[in-house]
């Protein structure tokens, strides 16, 4: 069944793409089938999941790599699925109005459906390698979604930025997961967490896995891709960058923390990164005039909060994390939708150009914005408040180190209140945030009801969950319990006059004060803004990579053939010699002179070779080469190889004839050119090669102990091969297969020569036609 759910996503995406011309707006309905199926399935299985049961499925894929498609849904996965599928359905409904039947809409709907499937895969995977598969699929689909408006260079760049950063983390994570699995002896997530390994390798593996989680959840210092990703259409942002994809990292931290929080650097690392992210993101959210950017940094901040809560790995904090996970999904998706509606209807989301959202039709939108932002700021009695109370409570009662964490979280929450206020005020009274700016967009018509409805649903949920915590107390309890057997949740609105309540009140007050003092704060921020932003670092890295690559390539790839040949010959000679002398190898000096006949032949060979090398005339050089060839033939006679001598003689003759045939068109003298490798370098390389050849030959020949196989050939040539000439029997019979190959070479050479000779004549094109039209200059 779980496989069917995943398949439904893929099938609906395929259906949308296949019927893109006919579907129109209906594409969004088809695309939503996957998430809808998940919701239906959740409803049907709610009881089992609440009882602590898990639904599992398994299919083999690659046994050799321990990669089986293990799927498992427990209560925590169910909580994530509520988020992924529930908000997913609403986003599809919203996008139907936002993107409508635009030409890109079908592509967007299909990709969004694929993305929802991938995200579902992340949540239901019980094998860490399967989780990685789904994880990377979310990266790729989000790449394509961010670049949906591909005619915009900014969108293309942002998409690449997001993909590369998350893929970087993904690769680190892959290494970490494999190491972890190898340490534990299993790649099943459940088994891994149940019996966690430890030790140095495990610690390293965990750090690598965390890098993956941090990049995906936009934690500092890997956060910079998320604000850039806001170029995507708002439904995409609402889904990927609020509810779903960025939660993948949080999800992974949540899964692993109960087992690994005490191992090595986990807890200090995760909590530090989370806190830095929460505070830094909150500070950045106070600055942008683009409402979507404001929400983006707010999201980064809240993700940091979530990472802290889950990363601590203690039951109380885990409970708070589960509560905040859901609350955040609700209010952030609603807020993105609001910004999208405003953008869609007014044509801008810049506070400095925003018109007053007057009129009856806008009242609903304003209400949604206020309720959701208030939930974000943890104003009672909303879902965000309930979650925040749990978080404060978890840390107040914790051990000493948690006080520091608590202080950080309070600071982050103060900032949250401030930017939430800023968001609401900017929407309702733009002038109060941006001052009296120049031209404002004209007041817009109210959005249609269907456009607003999804956001209303989300806001309503925010309110209901806040007013009646009992509604979701069970859900959170089961989810937290599934993560950590010791965790139990009992959500309530009113804990009595306790430290958390006081902290909440103080947070709200401080946040309001911070917002009230926005002008001095802004001035201070402008003065103390860090000189480097994440995007700049990324851009510099990419530029540096491109320049470094070009520089390296210019060095190793100068395009000079003699240089290539020289490097290859030198490498072969030197590497082999080094290996040769690494062990016993020298067999002793060979005889100086074998037969007397060798002396004149060897002399002829040497003289001919040297003379041919230094000859300045082509004709002379070729003739001298011929001399060497004939000397070889003589040598073959001396060595007892008459067939060889005959062949050598014939081939050499033919070669000289063919060479002269070509040469008659070339100038007789070689031209002097001072190009390429210098003469000295060439001489040195040649000397190295020559010496290497001699040394290697002596070493190889001197180490022969066995009888050569050719002895059997000589003995069998007559009785078995019916020939006296052993060499010929070898050629046509014993090793006839070689000869078959050899004549094939001749056939191919003949075809190639004819083709080249017949190739059409062209005026000497110095400036080559690089277009490579594929057009041939055939006969």
């Amino acid at each position: 069944m779980l496989f069917a759910l995943l398949g439904a996503h893929a099938a609906s995406a395929a259906a949308v793409l296949a019927a893109r011309r006919r579907l129109g707006r209906a594409a969004w309905v088809v695309g939503a089938l996957g998430p809808a199926a998940v919701l239906a399935w959740l409803a049907a299985n709610a009881g089992r999941l609440a009882d602590g049961e898990a639904v599992e499925a398994r299919a083999e894929w690659i046994g050799g790599l321990d990669l089986a498609l293990d799927l498992r849904v427990d209560a925590f996965a169910a909580l994530m699925l509520v988020l992924v599928a529930g908000i997913g359905v609403l986003v599809f409904a919203y996008a139907r109005s936002y993107l409508g039947p635009a030409p890109r809409a079908a592509r967007a709907a299909a990709l969004l459906a694929l993305f929802a499937g991938a995200m579902t895969g992340v949540v239901v995977a019980d094998n860490v390698l399967v989780l990685y598969v789904a994880w990377e699929l979310t990266s790729v689909t989000s790449y394509l979604l961010i670049g949906l408006d591909d005619e915009d260079a900014g969108a293309r760049a942002a998409a690449q930025h997001a993909l590369l950063v998350t893929a970087l983390g993904g690769l680190a994570m892959l290494a970490g997961l494999v190491l972890l699995g190898q340490q534990a002896g299993t790649f099943r997530l459940g088994e891994l967490v149940a019996a966690p390994p430890s030790g140095t390798v495990t610690v390293a593996a965990l750090v690598l896995v965390l890098v993956g989680a941090f990049t995906k959840s936009a934690q500092y210092p890997f956060h910079s891709w998320l604000p850039g990703a806001m170029v995507a259409p708002t439904p995409v942002s609402a889904y990927l960058h609020a509810a779903a994809m960025v939660k993948a990292g949080v999800y992974l931290v949540a899964r692993l923390a109960p087992a690994f929080a005490d191992v090595g650097v986990w807890r200090p690392l995760v909590v530090t990164v989370g806190l830095v992210t929460m505070v830094a993101g909150g500070l950045r959210a106070l600055r942008p005039f683009d409402l979507k950017q404001l929400l983006a940094f707010g999201t980064i901040s809240q993700l940091g909060f979530l990472v802290v809560l889950f990363g601590i790995g203690r039951p109380e904090a885990t409970v708070a994390g589960c509560a905040l996970l859901l609350a955040h999904g609700l209010f952030k998706a609603a807020l993105f939708m609001v910004v999208g509606i405003v953008d869609h209807e007014t044509g801008t989301r810049d506070v400095r150009r925003l018109p007053a959202l007057a009129g009856r039709g806008w009242r609903t939108v304003r209400a949604v914005a206020v309720a959701s932002a208030a939930s974000m700021a943890a104003v009672p009695p909303l879902a965000g408040f309930v979650a925040k109370e749990e978080a404060y409570g978890a840390l107040v009662d914790g051990p000493g180190g948690d006080r520091l964490v608590l202080a950080g979280i309070v600071a982050g929450s103060v900032l949250t209140v401030a930017y939430s206020l800023r968001f609401v005020v900017a929407l309702l009274r733009p002038g109060a945030v941006a001052g009296a700016a120049g031209s404002r967009a004209p007041a817009a018509h109210a959005p249609p009801g269907a456009f607003v409805a999804p956001a209303v649903v989300l806001a309503a949920a925010t309110v209901v969950l806040g007013v009646a915590p009992a509604v979701w107390s069970g859900l959170v309890d089961h989810a937290a319990h599934a993560l950590d057997g010791r965790a139990h949740a009992h959500l309530s609105l009113w804990h009595g006059p306790s430290v958390p309540l006081l902290l909440s009140a103080a947070t709200l007050a401080a946040g309001a004060a911070l917002f009230a003092a926005r002008r001095p704060v802004a001035a201070l921020q402008a003065a103390t803004a860090p000189p480097v932003s994440g995007t700049r670092v990324y851009d510099a890295a990419v530029r540096g990579l491109l320049r470094g690559a070009a520089r390296l390539t210019a060095v190793v790839q100068p395009g000079s053939l003699p240089l290539y040949a020289g490097v290859i010959l030198l490498t072969a000679a030197v590497a082999t010699t080094v290996a040769l002398v690494s062990g016993p190898w020298w067999p002793g000096w060979p005889d100086a002179v074998g037969r007397t006949a060798h002396v004149p032949v060897a002399a002829l060979l040497v003289v001919g070779a040297v003379a041919s090398t230094v000859a300045r005339r082509r004709f002379a050089a070729v003739m001298l080469l011929g001399v060497v060839g004939y000397a070889m033939a003589v040598l073959f006679v001396v060595q007892g190889a008459p067939d060889l001598a005959l062949t050598q003689f014939g081939v050499e003759t033919l070669f000289v004839v063919v060479f002269l045939l070509v040469l008659r068109q070339l100038p007789d003298r070689f031209e002097h050119r001072r190009t390429g490798a210098g003469r000295l370098v060439r001489l040195a390389v040649s000397a190295v090669v020559g010496v290497f050849v001699m040394v290697a030959a002596v070493a190889a020949a001197g180490s022969r102990t066995a009888e050569p196989v050719s002895r059997a050939m000589s003995e069998q040539a007559w009785p078995e091969g019916h020939g006296r000439n052993v060499v010929n029997v070898i050629l046509v019979d014993i090793r006839g297969f070689d000869t078959l190959g050899e004549i094939t070479v001749l056939v191919a050479a003949a075809i190639g020569i004819v083709a080249l000779a017949r190739a059409g004549r062209r005026p000497r094109p110095r400036a080559r036609d690089r277009a490579l039209t594929g057009e041939e200059v055939g006969s």
Partner: protein
Amino acid sequence: MTGLLVVAAGVLCACGTYLVLGRQLSRVIIGFGLLGHGVNLLLVLSGGDGGDPAFAGPGTTAADVDRFADPLPQAFVLTAIVITFGVVAFLLALAHRSWRLTADDEVEDDIEDRRIAAAAREGDRAGGDA
């Protein structure tokens, strides 16, 4: 293995290498000719120091076989000679074509490589200025 012939093979290979590292295709081809001779010489030597031509018959005895020059490397060399001939003939045709296209048989540097090298230098200068 005869030292004298090993030295001859080494000299042939060295001379061949020197020519192969040049830029004019006709000299490169001559270089491959020399290299080929050098390596063929080594191949023949790999069968020992030679002997009687390997001709067998009904009356051939083990002692006769002992005196044979090793026939197998001869077959190798024969194959190698023929293959080298085919390839070198093709290379000549290529030189011929090159001559007709550019009035030269020189091996030029790769244009795209040089373009990228130039771009890299350009980038360095721009980077230095920034």
